[in-house]
Assembly symmetry: C2
Homo-oligomer: 461 residues x 2
Amino acid sequence: MDFKFFNKKKQEDAPPLPERTSTDSEELFCYGFDASSMQGTPSAVVRPVTTDEVVQMVSFAHKQRKPIVPRGAGTGMTGGSVPLKDAVVLSLDSMNRILDVDEKNMVAVVEPGVINGHLQEKLEAKGLFYPPDPASMNFCTLGGNVAENAGGPRAIKYGVTRDYVLGLEVVLPDGRVMMTGGKTFKNVVGYDLTRLIVGSEGTLCVVTKIFLKILPLPGETVTLLCTYPALNDAALTVSKITASGIIPRVLEFMDKASVSAVEAYGRYGLPPDAEALLLIEVDGSKASVSEEVDRIASICASLNGRVSIAEDIFSRKRLWEARRAISPALYRIKPSKINEDIVVPRGRIPEMLQSLRDISEKFNVKIVNFGHAGDGNIHVNVMTDKNDKDEYERAGKSVKDIFEAVIRLEGSISGEHGIGLTKKQYIGMELSETGIEIMKAIKRAFDPYGIMNPGKIFPAT
Amino acid sequence: MDFKFFNKKKQEDAPPLPERTSTDSEELFCYGFDASSMQGTPSAVVRPVTTDEVVQMVSFAHKQRKPIVPRGAGTGMTGGSVPLKDAVVLSLDSMNRILDVDEKNMVAVVEPGVINGHLQEKLEAKGLFYPPDPASMNFCTLGGNVAENAGGPRAIKYGVTRDYVLGLEVVLPDGRVMMTGGKTFKNVVGYDLTRLIVGSEGTLCVVTKIFLKILPLPGETVTLLCTYPALNDAALTVSKITASGIIPRVLEFMDKASVSAVEAYGRYGLPPDAEALLLIEVDGSKASVSEEVDRIASICASLNGRVSIAEDIFSRKRLWEARRAISPALYRIKPSKINEDIVVPRGRIPEMLQSLRDISEKFNVKIVNFGHAGDGNIHVNVMTDKNDKDEYERAGKSVKDIFEAVIRLEGSISGEHGIGLTKKQYIGMELSETGIEIMKAIKRAFDPYGIMNPGKIFPAT
């Protein structure tokens, strides 16, 4: 689909929604990349505002066998919304209404363009709670969260996006509208299409409405910061806390390089001499929170951790700003980073951190680690400079070693960022040929002409 | 596949595993029905003990285009394991080893024939916890739980089987072995085949190994029994408890008829004059449990409920025996029951109970209700006598009205029992043609020759 395609004269070939369509080169540029810093160029950007408009656009693309890329806020880390092959970007950011907050049934119904943080705010004001909180929550859309099955720090206790999606309205690649699931917390009528579509990275259909399970807001939340003179003590603390029967709502890890980067970036008051840091949060009733805080503090102390408790909302917010600043802060160390999102069984974190140190030495590259230790989900950042060709090459090569270590430790090469473009060449390391074949057959069942976000997830064959 | 098929002389056509195969008519009879009381007759029963034996049998069936029905303990309520078309029953009950309880990573690895309750016992002895607890937990297999996405009373707090399955080893209909997911709590590498296979009722593949997420055993559990002089007060209590921010681990409901049936059956000490009864359980730390028990007791009392607390393990066990006895006890009222497993958004339970009273009157049939009120998941039992032709016909007709009420209230016609044979004629009430078409296309992607548990879920077209 190219410019000419959008300027065709014949009535029956004219694309729908001209008033929603832009082919300005500035816009095409802006909608050509995402947080992965991959770059494509769409042939047009279309911004539908209703399901019916999505149907019109998708039906047209289907008839013309032209590729479509659904897109939220473009905060994805693996290039899932980067358009290939002159695709049309279908930006859902204008479908941004919270349609219903049904307190009686504890269900929120939203359009895909609603910003995650906006829903959170609206719910919290009513004493309600939507747990998934990706670091980009103030920018990313719930539609994007569904496409990528987004996680976040609270996943250790509350799970990921998939655990909250009860139902979907979607537009299939041929323009048909389909409902899956609905407002009930249980449903075993036929195959679970809802959870198949969650995490499918826009390759199966376009999501136009989302039914989300919501929870009551926990009564009490306390945040602890624990700093360590040795990395391994922090890793052991993670195992010891989870083995103790406490499930904290957050159990985040930052290594020394992350802490230094964040402090250089914003002076958040983190101790720059610590070798590692844990950010821990517990929630629940006042009684249970105070009991759990005591137990956690004594576990941390027994492993040489220095504990401080964020007493007020102000200091808690400051800690979270520091945590969310890691990703931008890392660019102070080096202008480029290769960002991986690995996950290992929780008990194997110490082995994984050791492997990362070995790989860092072997390739002579700086590797910075932080993330969701409670889940075994570590964000591994290989720091590099694209202009230093030799270093950049070494950094690129280290990725395969990192993934090999992950697979050896029974882990997964992506915990919450998806595969998109940047990891597709590696999926064969984790999935068997049979698994990939079955997935491709499912893709064909939804999208026989391959118009829906082509070139993503699966390596070219 | 018939007897002759199993006695073929030509070497290449001879079925594998003769030592695991039975064609005795008694066995064929026993493996022909399940808890739905539907009856079929398999051409043979094969009991593999290894994945490789499953591969041999499935490959053979694939080559011969002969149907196969995977089966656990046959406790399913909708005929999912009843063999049609002289299928071979592949009974997984001999693959019953708990392969690993990995405490460090909080993962259990089991074969499909492991009894749910056996795993529970083994885990509890180690201070660990596998929450899903279908009423048949002392008999049903984990493979069957996976096939049906089994729930149970604890689902309100802890979710259903799907929420605990991290990965699967399966044998595809052409005999290939495929791994999905694994030991990690997060994984977004390609489509989520794991959760697609959970709940697919043996129509996509044979599950041969299951990776289950396990939790620490909660420190404290308290059980409350609350009886009501009016049904509606019990329903309001459910809404009020959940709106209060407490998530009990159990919130079960029994109507008067269920209570009377159970008391007539076993003298469990339930008050036979109560119009409704709630069985409530909370768990967690000692401090939070005691706080929540107080709050729940005061909510119950404010709605005319009489609360008693099961102080010791003995009285708690007795209450649970009563709850689990409902299903057999109902046969004291009438020799047959049509058992439905509906679910509505939680806040709509009072409307649903009213609809059920109206339908009971309209068709002049006794309807007994109990179940997981906290989830909106009610087990509706239309009591009848097959020998009373007129009544049996009226009972059968009432089902459509029940499902119509469910759909009107934005509910689902099956919460945890699946579709199998008994509900397949109704799935069009809930799913669109498009939805059914996509599901069938997925079925073909796995099973192009339709040998895997044919005739289930989808109505004949």
